[in-house]
Symmetry: C2
């Protein structure tokens, strides 16, 4: 079975770990969000790709959900001693090595997709990890500070400001001109199932869908019978983790399991899983033409996550 998953960072990575357990023989292609990518200290940092790679490769800091296990921060402390920041982004020494290798390879002319493949040769994540695009896309968030409008990089909004101010708009800068990375459209066209994990619908899955060609490929696959199933990142009217409500508000979507399903829409989604606490949403979602089931959606451990993945694959079978 060939499965394509559109993944953001922590939520996507944890879901993938469960999916691998649920479908050990599946060929899984992950289309990773790169809108969170940021240049720090002259180095190219790809937080979502790395979170997937480290999580599936056994190198993740489990409690934190991002960054490396057993990490130290000597380089960052030294950079601060030079007065060089930002200090709000937690790059550890082990993590720095990844960004150094990536930046060196990009500088030598390799596209991000080839670089990601090379990094994965070490981590053996057990999935094919593709960036959504080899072209630079950078999610910016429009905010108002002291009555003044400004746009900040998504990481500044998320990590530095901790989404403490309202997002007026979320713009994937560069997306219009970006092309899907090699392999992305073919993987979607050849997929038996396409899954949207409980990742952020705006800045993770939404950014991937903003790359011209990707949404269209999924719509075409769905139209030709490929089941497309999503899992709600909203449980009981609140994001399971992160501050997705802030960016959902920016695109005029309520933080409910139903609203997110309708935001994706039936053209894209064939099936949608909501948490058991949101069982009341099933009727509304189905009324919009999206098959819906209420099942436990808390990724408390790999077992629970694998059960979610099985539910998603079962719903996909139903749709076939």
């Amino acid at each position: 079975m060939r499965i394509v998953v559109l993944a953001g960072g922590i939520g996507g990575a944890r879901f993938l770990r469960g999916l691998k357990q649920a479908a050990p023989d599946a060929e899984i292609t992950v289309v990773g969000n790169t809108g969170d990518d940021i240049h720090l200290f002259g180095l190219k940092v790809c937080p979502d790709l790395d979170t997937v790679m480290y999580t599936l490769g056994g190198g993740i800091n489990e409690e934190q959900g991002w960054g490396r296990l057993d990490e130290s921060f000597t380089v960052k402390e030294e950079l601060a001693a030079y007065g060089v920041g930002p200090e709000w982004f937690g790059l550890g020494d082990r993590d720095f090595a990844t960004h150094i290798v990536r930046t060196q390879m990009l500088g030598a002319g390799f596209p991000l997709s080839a670089v990601t493949e090379a990094l994965c040769a070490r981590w053996q994540p057990g999935v094919r990890l593709l960036p959504m695009s080899d072209d630079r896309v950078e999610t910016h968030v429009a905010i108002e500070v002291d009555g003044e409008q400004k746009a900040v990089h998504f990481q500044e909004y998320w990590v530095k400001l901790r989404a403490s101010v309202d997002a007026k708009a979320v713009v994937p800068v560069g997306a219009e001109a970006a092309k899907p990375a090699p392999g992305v459209l073919d993987a979607i066209a050849e997929a038996d199932v396409v899954l949207f994990p409980p990742s952020n619908p705006v800045v993770s899955v939404g950014t991937i869908l903003a790359v011209p060609g990707i949404r269209e490929a999924i719509v075409a696959a769905a139209a030709s019978g490929t089941p497309v199933v999503g899992l709600s990142p909203i449980v009981g009217d609140a994001p399971v983790r992160g501050m997705a409500d802030k960016v959902l508000a920016a695109v005029g979507v309520e933080s409910t399991a139903t609203a997110v399903a309708l935001h994706y829409g039936s053209e894209l989604l064939g099936g949608w899983l909501v948490d058991t606490v949101d069982a009341g949403a099933v009727t509304d979602v189905e009324a919009a033409g999206i098959r819906c089931r209420a099942v436990p959606l808390m990724m408390t451990d790999v077992e629970a996550t694998a059960a979610m993945a099985r539910e998603a694959l079962a719903l996909a079978e139903e749709l076939r």
Copy 2:
């Protein structure tokens, strides 16, 4: 008193520490060798500039003579886990931060001289440290391996091969087209004394002199009465440290205190200090028109080094 010192790495840095103690009120300008510079992991590494900066700024690994005190090697280990080398060059985590800042600033368009000044703002070395040039100069060494001629970067010859094969030639690639960094020629023209510390005469001082304009400026200063005094890096027919004999042989110079003085020549040098064990060299050096004194030249500690610096300054006074 304004003193200009042409410095390589370890020897130059240690001499400068003694000089600062011997002449605490002097304005010292260091023209640093950049022919040893190398790009590693996409980062610009300037071993000689950093050795001077760390040594005078209190950050050096004292026993080793290069690299940072209290260093760790996490980044390097991680790079190796990615299969990315070279492993023979010992870059530590603290040191990496310096190269990351430097590379970022160079990438932003600052010349190496401005970057060096910015790095020194942290280290406060107590001297003005100028790279010999903002242009790229890279010392290559011609060697013969299994009957085949090849050229390797100086660091590969020195650090990886540990000068275990004969150097057929030493070529400062790019020197012909390099310009002295801003401030270098003015500092020489305005100097009260120019000193050649016991650095490598070929790959350290020799490379600095290979930048068009620098040798000429020193010759002109000497001609107009500025004392130029050198300290022999050869004691008892052997280099005090390093493998200078290998690269001296490549330029056809014997490893003796006399031969090195004659290699520099009386056009450049007004005075030359040899070690007391080489007292027999004084007559030959003076016969070549270079004032010579035999004094202890082992930099065993800062006191001993300060005494050497005082001898050099005393000889300069004699020449005035």
